[in-house]
């Protein structure tokens, strides 16, 4: 299926149209993996053409297709600026957020391929079943565990102690890391990078007293030792979290019992 439309992407303003006027528009081809569980037995590619500007995101192109060409194209999205984690997908073979990837940055001279993230069951088009991902997250006890009486005011924590786990607080649970991991592709039981990142966030929080329990969970045969440090997860993280480093820190904590 091929069609061309003029740009009418929502989320742009009169100001932007004028501004975009200074920026040349160009035609982009997207090759999208489609799968409709009600009619298809397997996924297939469909090709679309849209008109884009330099400031457009891949999500803008997907919206152009959905809104002006083929309403049945299905994908999740919400905030559209990289903070809600809804629209992780495989763009030109790499996991990214569609709303944080500018078209001009993914070589628009060639067709841009868009597929669902790998390793989770595809529900429809670019939508995958997120439940296995959230199951792994829930298993690492991703919440503050404390003993004893609660203080009446806030707990005291130095900024240095707060900074110790800052990187892993940035996680938006988009699953870009976990579904870029070859170990996870081969073994869906592996907790995966995102769950370990969220365990790290609490293990290294000085207010938390559940570190030993979490480390025991991650010492499991499906835990941190499955990581082969391929750094795919770090490359995929749209929040710039040093995922592999976080996993290494959890491994070290397990070996030294220090955290």
């Amino acid at each position: 299926m091929t069609a061309t439309t003029t740009d009418t992407t929502a989320g742009k303003t009169g100001q932007d149209s004028a501004k975009a006027g200074a920026v040349p528009s160009f035609t982009v081809t997207l090759k999208i993996a489609r799968f409709n569980p009600e009619t298809d037995t397997e996924a297939h590619w469909e090709t679309y053409q849209v008109t884009s500007h330099a400031t457009d995101r891949v999500l803008d192109a997907l919206h152009q297709i959905k809104w002006d060409q083929d309403g049945s194209l299905s994908f999740r999205r919400s905030c559209a600026h990289g903070v809600c984690g809804s629209d992780a997908m495989r763009i030109n073979g790499k996991n990214r957020l569609a709303c944080k990837t500018l078209i001009k940055d993914v070589n628009p001279d060639k067709p841009i391929t868009v597929e669902p993230i790998k390793g989770l069951p595809v529900e429809k088009d670019l939508i995958v079943d997120m439940e296995p991902f959230f199951d792994a997250y829930r298993e690492v006890m991703p919440f503050l565990i404390t003993n004893g009486n609660e203080p009446t005011r806030e707990r005291i924590q130095s900024q240095a102690d707060r900074d110790r786990f800052d990187d892993t607080t940035k996680c938006i649970l988009c699953a870009a890391c976990t579904t870029s991991c070859p170990v996870f592709w081969n073994d869906g039981q592996y907790f995966g990078p995102a769950a370990i990142v969220n365990a790290h966030r609490f293990i290294f929080d000085t207010r938390d007293e559940g570190g030993a329990q979490r480390l025991e969970i991650l010492n499991d045969k499906e835990g941190v030792w499955r990581c082969r440090t391929t750094f795919n997860c770090t490359d995929a993280c749209p929040r710039g979290i040093q995922v592999t480093q976080a996993i290494q820190e959890v491994k070290r904590a397990l070996l030294t019992s220090r955290f």
């Binding site: 299905s74 809600c84 609490f202």
Partner: protein
């Protein structure tokens, strides 16, 4: 169709919904129904902080916070509600810290605080450091922390369940009670009826009425629309906040924290123009004033850029290390989406539709009102969907994160306590008929109008005619377009005819709410012949306390179950509700 039964059903899993769930689920059997996975909610996009008079870094008290909230809202705030919010703010912040929220810290290890627009020391003397924050991702931390605690408590979620109707029935006392809700399961297209003693609406805002907005695509006023169609009034809908600093052309939010940390707004001449509009607190004036000042600079030809259509947010005098520590996300937005380096270049910004001050009217116990005085038994609302009214005609920055925590908590407790003492009300006969007709009519229609075409027309007219500056003529133009869209919507068509993850259908249903709410916003604005807070009339530039220091209450006739597709209101009737004044008489609003 499946039927479920819970004591409490919470609709929405953003900050207000999850804060309510944490209270309700420990007290009674509770389900949370959410259109999105909880962590996708737009609370996560909030950036700058949550104000509370902790006085961790300088003298402060909750009464000053209350005054600022009332004055910031241009005296349309219900002062009893503002007192509660500002008093309970302190515990609300401490509660979040105890739940694990990683706030930034002072050198002594306490929760750090910074300046924010309209928050002042001693009734307006100077800006005060009141906002508790976690870099510029405070909303993200709140959403994550609340979700983490929901996981800890085993809160029961129904993810991607889109609530499309509120069920009511006559109770033993002869009064209309809440009986439950009807939800559409996105994964399967199946309808679910949830019978409940209490229902809490925490569905968020409706920013997608406008084209340029900081709001998520999913913020389509569903809760407000569902309630309104069932005959529940909407309060103060004409008051919509335009956040001053959206990324120019895109509307993506750049937190007011940028100015709290020292950022300065400049026009094309490099002038710090806010010195002219708000001599005392300048760039940290409330959002309505800053947004209007910016729009005025552009209108008078002092805008920057090739088309002189934006102003500049200048952070270049700040240390890069300070920017990285306090404003990492928003500076990355500027780099990613505009290719601007905030260390060395000012960032193009322009006002963006941000927040609905109005909504479903409630009292301070979060009980929904069916008129100026009576409550709807069993129905509660909190957060942006609600109007309690702590924001009046203009919300202060950070007070929304506060609102969801204080009134979300109150709603969870109130709903559970109500359920403990109330019997189930019978479900109405054929409870899902209305939703089924609405969804199936759209899904199976063969030809007609495209969703995207109608939505664009709506958003364009709202941006052009009902934005920062409004006139009778502009709003009449908007109403003309809306009337036409109501007719065209009766013929709306989707291409996806399937049942599973039919997001085409979802967008069509959302559009119905947007059109309905755009009309209420515009009618309220047309009738309010004064300027107050976020509502500015060029043909009535002064505030008129004699005639308009009162809340707008919009009503429509409820839909009937045999309607095919949602019928828009034939007529929206406007009435008014007095403002609750406790200690602050209206004064001229100067900063």
């Amino acid at each position: 169709m499946q039927t479920h039964k819970y004591d409490v059903v919470i609709v929405g899993a953003g900050g207000a919904g999850m804060r309510a769930a944490l209270e309700s689920s420990t007290r009674t059997r509770t389900a949370v129904l959410t259109k999105l996975y909880p962590t996708r909610s737009h609370t996560g996009a909030a950036q700058g902080g949550m104000c509370a008079a902790l006085a961790n870094v300088e003298e402060d008290n909750w009464e000053w916070h209350t005054f600022d909230t009332v004055k910031g809202g241009d005296y349309l705030v219900d002062q009893d509600a503002a007192e509660i919010m500002c008093r309970e703010a302190i515990d609300a912040v401490i509660d979040l810290e105890k739940m694990g929220l990683p706030f930034n810290r002072t050198p002594e290890g306490k929760i750090d605080q910074r300046r924010f627009g309209g928050h002042t020391r001693n009734h307006g003397e100077a800006a005060v450091r009141r906002s508790c924050f976690a870099a510029d991702r405070t909303g993200h931390m709140i959403l994550q922390t609340l979700y983490q605690n929901c996981v800890k408590q085993g809160v029961e979620f129904y993810n991607e369940f889109y609530v499309l109707d509120l069920l009511m029935n006559t109770g033993a006392d002869g009064v209309e009670h809440t009986a439950g809700v009807v939800a559409y399961e996105l994964a399967t297209g199946e309808l679910h009826v949830f019978q409940a003693k209490s229902v809490v609406f925490a569905t968020g805002g409706t920013g997608k009425v406008f084209k340029t907005t900081s709001n998520a695509h999913t913020l389509t006023g569903d809760g407000m629309g569902v309630a309104f169609r069932r005959g529940i009034p909407l309060e103060d809908m004409e008051f919509f906040q335009f956040h001053p600093t959206g990324l120019a052309g895109l509307g993506i939010l750049l937190s007011e924290a940028a100015r709290g940390e020292g950022g300065i707004l400049r026009n094309a001449d490099g002038e710090r123009f806010m010195e002219r509009y708000a001599p005392t607190i300048k760039d940290l004036a409330p959002r309505d004033i800053v947004a209007r000042s910016m729009a005025n600079e552009v209108r008078e030809g002092r805008g920057a850029g090739p088309n002189k259509d934006y102003v500049l947010l200048d952070l270049t005098h700040l240390e890069p290390a300070h920017i990285d520590a306090k404003l990492p996300d928003i500076t990355e937005f500027a780099r990613t989406y505009l290719g601007v380096e905030p260390y060395t270049e000012p960032v193009p910004v322009y006002p963006t539709a941000h927040y609905a001050m109005g909504g479903v009217p409630t009292n301070v116990e979060t009980e929904v009102l069916s008129n100026n005085t009576d409550v709807v038994p069993g129905l509660f609302a909190a957060g942006e969907v609600a109007c309690v009214s702590v924001h009046g005609s203009n919300r202060l920055g950070t007070n929304s994160l506060l609102d969801i925590n204080v009134f979300g908590r109150r709603a969870g407790i109130a709903a559970a306590e109500y359920a403990a003492n109330a019997p189930y009300v019978d479900l109405p006969a054929n409870p899902s008929t209305f939703v089924e007709a609405m969804v199936e009519t759209i899904r199976t229609r063969d030809s007609g109008e495209r969703v995207a075409d109608l939505r664009r027309a709506l958003q364009e007219t709202m941006d052009r005619n009902v934005q920062v500056f409004r006139t009778e003529a502009s709003m009449k133009e908007a109403l003309g377009v809306i009337d036409e869209l109501k007719e065209r919507y009766a013929n709306v068509v989707v291409q996806d005819k399937g049942k599973r993850y039919n997001t085409d259908l979802l967008e069509a249903v959302e559009l119905g709410f947007l059109i309905e709410l755009a009309e209420v916003i515009t009618l309220g604005a047309l009738a309010r012949k004064e300027s107050r807070g976020g509502h500015f009339r060029e043909d009535y530039e002064a505030r008129d306390d004699v005639n308009f220091m009162r809340h707008t209450m919009a009503y429509r006739a409820p839909v009937t179950d045999d309607e095919l597709g949602p019928k828009f209101a034939d007529e929206v009737r406007l009435d008014y509700k007095p403002v609750t004044v406790t200690r602050y008489q209206p004064m001229e609003r100067k900063y």
